[in-house]
Symmetry: C2
């Protein structure tokens, strides 16, 4: 692992002449990430059902690890003693860690916020814990994260303007504490813009974070139940406020359409459980829309999931077999479905990167939407 | 797939000078199997948690498919229309199919036997079915099995001598009906010696099957609750009755020790759910005995499962990580544990094959037992 003077260094390679889409390279101490990039989610030290070599085979450049889950089990200090998260899970490419905030705030009744941080009860055993900006950074550093995220509140939607303003201001103070708490200068630290669905609060948040100064900037608080139009509106307001020479990460987003729209608006990085969780529920992504593999119409269908897909699953297995595995509750159903869905997401990112680089992003968009309007089933 | 004049052709390559152990090659229409061989069990058209390429990586030469399960779901005729079981599950090496008898007889209250066959209710939906020797062969042929097994009763233990005698005589009549029902001469058909734990009934069964004539011979009705000594006694009585120039398959066996003892007594082929089912329950096989990975002593153990094992899991993962995956109920726990256990079983067979070929089988046996007496934990 190399040290790096400018963690989060972002090389802007191509700008789409017709949209805000960007093609770039994000440099981390564990290697470069070509952007726009999608990060598969590895909650508990594994992307569910996938071996590291399978993740590489489908094209994962970086994965996301969850601070909250790993803090509770097996414990960040234990992972540190075992050589860090990369060694623990046998993944040698970059890892971005979230701050734990999203999961802790999702605990509802089990958590209580004050200026210092959040007190909460473990979802595993009810034990009492407290998570602060300082502890979040300490955990992320113990895990050996290559890109750390500031500890913040992902504001629920809808929320009152008063709540959003107060929460966002507190998240800004926490962001400054996170930066001060950092001890490992070779790992990047990203700030997270909050501000709910309020344009001026998003602007205030972005400006305050820029004043503090981070290696990259994220949009948080999206995909929380708002409409797609509102999500795109917040992106339109916020992404142009962020510096061109820093990576922009839209957190927790989203559907294939969301990714195309976010890239159109200048976003570089994404994470979402959608491809992996849907896979385990038998919902598959294709060039023509989503497919629910459990349907009886696939009982004897000898076609691959997506005849236009060249992933290892579509090359070797029929819809009939995948339906059989799903109906039989077989482990291999999750493995194959996850492989296909991640390949779909990562291939979508590759196509967008290629399209931006060759000046054909608008043509790509048109083609993307034209195909999906025809035959999607779900 | 080649046609074959003598399906089940067995080339005897080496005989151990001190035991009855044999090193041979079994020729099937989908390729050769070096024996002694262990066959991973693929009940529902998949060896649970394993991709076909992973099975090959750990050294599987042949797998077992379950007639009962595939008949009920997705249906043998459907699999035939989809190109057969090999195509369905993307496995191009040989497949041996059981007859369905073992599962049907295991249904207890849900089944009824008469001379024609067995009437039973599906464990999936309670629907009524009837399985006969003729239907069993038709199913196995529809699946595209390379080695078919005769339909018989796996006699429970203990059973009265009268029950054993009557059941074995009926199984012999069913075996003749199976041979008569075969329409595909390029797939091998194996007879199954029954006779419970009675020496004379085992002899009668073996002689009757030899009179009918099969491509290979199996010992059924073992691993049904009898002691290891009784199991070995039945092998001692029965295996020497079988022809040297035909493969000998001991069904449903067993532990690593059982395999070593059966090979010592002249057996060539085995199947058992033990490595795969144990893997899913967190029980791992090692050169020093069994390990239950869920134990707290492995929480921070940075060693591989078995420091002497060179499988893909032991090369890349610690006991601490495998314990974490198991405790977290992660899919990857089953995948990695199954990979290791199958490698252990298949490596054990490779070592026995090498030892017999080089005249060192007794030294292998001694070493095998010496290592296990030291440190096995379960």
């Amino acid at each position: 692992m190399a040290t790096q003077e400018d963690p989060g260094k972002f090389e802007l390679k191509h700008l789409c002449p017709e949209t805000l889409a960007r093609r770039g390279t994000l440099h981390t101490r564990r290697g470069a990430i070509e952007t726009p990039a999608f990060m598969p989610v590895g909650t508990q030290g594994t992307v569910k059902g996938m071996l590291p070599e399978q993740l590489k085979e489908v094209g994962a450049q970086i994965i996301l690890g969850n601070t909250y889950h790993l803090y509770l089990r097996p414990g960040h200090e234990r992972i540190a003693r075992l050589g860090g998260l990369h060694r623990f899970m046998n993944w040698d490419r970059p890892i971005l860690t979230d701050s734990g905030g999203f999961q802790v705030f999702s605990l509802g009744e089990l958590r209580k916020i004050d200026e210092d941080g959040v007190r909460f009860q473990s979802h595993l055993d009810g034990s009492a814990h407290s998570l602060t900006p300082e502890l979040s950074i300490a955990i992320q550093e113990a895990l050996g994260s290559d890109i750390m995220m500031v500890f913040d509140e992902c504001i629920p939607h809808p929320a009152t303007r008063e709540y959003i303003a107060a929460s966002t201001a507190r998240s800004t103070r926490w962001a400054a504490r996170c930066k001060a708490a950092r001890t490992d200068a070779s790992a990047a630290l990203f700030g997270i813009v909050q501000g709910g669905m309020e344009q001026d609060l998003r602007r205030q948040s972005a400006e305050a974070l820029l004043d503090i100064g981070f290696d990259g900037y994220a949009l948080g608080g999206l995909s929380v139940g708002e409409s797609a139009e509102t999500m795109y509106q917040v992106m339109d307001w916020t992404l142009p406020l962020l510096p061109q020479n820093r990576p922009r990460y839209v957190m927790g987003v989203g559907t294939p359409e969301n990714l195309v729209e976010a890239v159109t608006r200048g976003a570089d990085m994404f994470d979402c459980v959608m491809p992996t969780r849907n896979a385990r529920n038998g919902v598959l992504f294709t060039s023509f829309g989503r497919v629910s593999i459990k349907q009886a119409r696939y009982l004897e269908d000898s076609q691959p999931i997506d005849p236009e897909c060249d992933c290892p699953v579509c090359r070797n297995y029929t819809r009939a077999y995948l339906r059989h595995l799903y109906q039989s509750n077989e482990i291999l159903a999750s493995v194959l479905n996850t492989t296909h869905n991640l390949y779909y997401y990562l291939q979508l990112m590759r196509r967008m990167r290629d399209a931006i680089a060759t000046g054909g992003f608008m043509a790509f968009r048109d083609d993307f939407y034209r195909r999906r309007s025809s035959d999607g089933e779900v």
